[in-house]
Symmetry: C3
Subunit: 400 residues, 3 copies
Amino acid sequence: MLKDVEPEPEPEPGVVEASVCQRVLKTLLLCTGDMEHLVKFMKDKFIVLQLVVCCLRGVSRVTLANNPLSGAFILAALYWASPWQGLLGTLGVLVSTLTAVILGQDSGEISGGLHGFNGMLVSLLIGEFSSADDWYWWLLLPVCFGSATCVFLYSGLSSVLDRWGLPASVFPFNIVIVLYLLCSGSENPYFPQHPAKPPGGLDSNGTKLVITEVMRGIPLGVGQIFACAALGPSLLILAAILLYSPLLAYHALLGSAVGTLAGLSMAVRHGSLYSGLMGFNGALGCMAVGGLFFTFSWRTHLFAIASAFLSAYGDIALSNLLGTVGLPACSWAATLTATLMLLLTGSLAAYRIPIGQVMAPEHNLLFRSRWEAQNAAEKENANISLQGVHTNSKSIASEP
Amino acid sequence: MLKDVEPEPEPEPGVVEASVCQRVLKTLLLCTGDMEHLVKFMKDKFIVLQLVVCCLRGVSRVTLANNPLSGAFILAALYWASPWQGLLGTLGVLVSTLTAVILGQDSGEISGGLHGFNGMLVSLLIGEFSSADDWYWWLLLPVCFGSATCVFLYSGLSSVLDRWGLPASVFPFNIVIVLYLLCSGSENPYFPQHPAKPPGGLDSNGTKLVITEVMRGIPLGVGQIFACAALGPSLLILAAILLYSPLLAYHALLGSAVGTLAGLSMAVRHGSLYSGLMGFNGALGCMAVGGLFFTFSWRTHLFAIASAFLSAYGDIALSNLLGTVGLPACSWAATLTATLMLLLTGSLAAYRIPIGQVMAPEHNLLFRSRWEAQNAAEKENANISLQGVHTNSKSIASEP
Amino acid sequence: MLKDVEPEPEPEPGVVEASVCQRVLKTLLLCTGDMEHLVKFMKDKFIVLQLVVCCLRGVSRVTLANNPLSGAFILAALYWASPWQGLLGTLGVLVSTLTAVILGQDSGEISGGLHGFNGMLVSLLIGEFSSADDWYWWLLLPVCFGSATCVFLYSGLSSVLDRWGLPASVFPFNIVIVLYLLCSGSENPYFPQHPAKPPGGLDSNGTKLVITEVMRGIPLGVGQIFACAALGPSLLILAAILLYSPLLAYHALLGSAVGTLAGLSMAVRHGSLYSGLMGFNGALGCMAVGGLFFTFSWRTHLFAIASAFLSAYGDIALSNLLGTVGLPACSWAATLTATLMLLLTGSLAAYRIPIGQVMAPEHNLLFRSRWEAQNAAEKENANISLQGVHTNSKSIASEP
């Protein structure tokens, strides 16, 4: 998409203004998608700068994006929502990326930010569930330990899941945060925390549902991917996704809306709907299938909606189950659903993009249509040459 | 077994009566086993008729059978026990089969009924655990959604389990029903349900065990495979299995008896024994190993009894565990045990029949003995020809 | 290491005394490590003697050792601590080994004791959690049944885990004991048991921590691998590990200390620290990585400490989770952690020893350094010959 923009030869004086516009647009376009050109650009740069870029990529990976600018916007949103949470998230992505370097993980994976996002999520949720005040410095201990553990899990799980061409995605985060919360328990004197509330069960005082609040929960669902429940930062996070890929941002909102609908159909607590907690699993499940791991088309679009519903209902189920021991369901449901979808056989499997070639949805779409056009052209050529051979052989046969 | 029955040439007048008897028997025999001849017969028939046959096969698949007539008998039994449950079951098998068609699953699998049985079981259990009255039409919503989800899980799990030559069997049903029950919870205003009771824990008022009731629980255990606790329909279901394969029916009863014995040894609630809930996991575990996935012999027979015990004890354990959060253990224990048995190495693995070639136990037995006889003959021939070669080579060597 | 000790030719009269010392040392050294020479020695011996040796190897396998003498010492320690527990353990290892023979498992695995240790652990823990008095003979029933089940699970799980070169290790024990405890429940009239206490939650009466008791918990942690909480037998068990491999014994103590430290950092109940229950998962996690499955070096040593921490924290988390339903976490945490470590990619994977070639840590170390020296020598040779070829080709090229 970006590679095709070739440098134009000497613009004429009359078209200068239009050219300026085009250049601005081009520069803007350079900041969207996977920013692959940055990879080459960064190769011989200072190591700290490389680390910053791969950490920012890691931050954006949480929303299935892969763009350092999106990562910067998301980090800004987190600092905006709560400086302490922003600090924890930064520390998490740093520690896990450095651990991956020390453990000698694949450098391509590290520079792609694949070892950062799990650590970041763990750190954010350790902070979120802590019942101590902000700036409780002892919390840095489990944050560092938890983030480092993610790298072990990511590497180990990748070895297992590779057999089916599956990504380890956020399984490490989900495992580590559940273990941390179980380990510290609710009455820990060093790391106190408040237990998660299951979404099931009616509100005691029969309050009425406020539609505007429910609508507000839809963009909040996108923010809740980072455990952020404020509207402004959530919208900034949505903008960061939009920068990476408009299609992904659309699916994020759509999935969050589907999740809210699923929550309404199961009569969950109103608080869960208002805070966006019902939406984020649907959003993740919808984003993974719609455009990212599967080429966008009307069939995969319906499929993405089905995936969002499965993720959302699965989340309610797991939240009710884990809520009985005071645990949150995190993004287990979306992760499991997306993994299931990638395993699917049948006609939808034809739309699947191999893990190694997954890029921004728009790129996938373009790449696919070109590739298909090429295939079709090749087939036609093959047919023509085959016909030629037939004609030749006929003429040879009929010659005398 | 059936293919060998060739049409006899012109019967003599004196043997006509015997011939009528034989013909009736032949027609009856055509209705037993896997009814493979029907597959060819149905190929160019009306599509709705094909759908009906593959749905009926799906119904019979629940009891590990693969016979549309058995399926029809079972469906009749369910309508007899409760028309509402029968309707839910029919809807479940239909919806999941159609979903498989839409998702472009393998047509051989669909026509074999492999995409129907999970959806049917989910529908039956959604109805069973609903605390609303019969004909509560809103229940059709989760029934349709749950049945459709089974196809996704069946396809995804098959991809994973294929690596070890394992079938997805009823894992999708077990996963979906547990998620549904968790999702709706016990106090849901739209889909109310009554929680499952764990079998452990003594009866409060020290009632005595009634032996006749316990004995009655054994055939009921076969009916409980379809969540049916009435004696008449249970016997009809047993008859349906008998029609498919007498060996399978024998193992069903044997397994149910073993399950009841296991329940007695662990002092479970009397109600669990009387209702047959203790028996159905044992029955399934016993049926899978005895004759179906392993060729019948005295060794595999002992093995089937061991499998029934493992399934039954596993069911008590899982029921106690899941009962703490009000969930039933469904057929998790039998499914896991059968899967474990299929993974076994050692001398028993020699009796295992590859998943693709599994048919009625009688057919497996016949096929195996023939195949072994053939192998033995071939070996003998090879030996003879080898001896011949030796003699020849000797004579050649000694020639001059 | 041992094979190299060649018989010396005719010692001179002056060196006889030194020679006696040497001979004693040699005989002692023959009793350490894997005692491979015994395998050949036992081949044509009486079958009962062979069974005894492979059972003793099975006993030592619990501590990741593979030495019949260590096994004998451990069994003696168990009889010392409690004759009833010793009897149960002996029965468990016997029953599961015999079951493996009946099921036709691989004879190499059986004689290596790989089918004994899970059964032994199950038997010991069935006895440990029973709230009936010692010598309650009915307990032999679940002991036999549970031990036999371990063989099924070991064989089945090995088939699955083989794909990633992973051992089934103590997964069967962990599964069977949890299922048994769930199956019998806490109020069972036939097999009464006392539920496990989760380590989390503060002690009611704010007692002070006794440092000496905590220090005493470290060697007790090694004994707790066999559910033995007495100091004397624990030290004897440690001595048995020392006999097999000093490196393994060092890691056992180190891991137990790390586990205690982890327990302190999470403010667990004092009882858990004093009894050594906090230490045994750390010990197992540390032993598996340090020297056994990975060649010993300073990098793998740090790695072993990380593994011990992960095992210990994982154990606290799982104990808190399973404690809510009265279940113990057994060695789930250490087993899962060790499995994860074996899956790890990156620079540490280079130190991994393939499962089939795992022996005593000292042997691994020696074998590795020799093997590496050999490789280096080969490379040098290759380089020299390559240079020779170069020179030759140059001379040939320059010849005329």
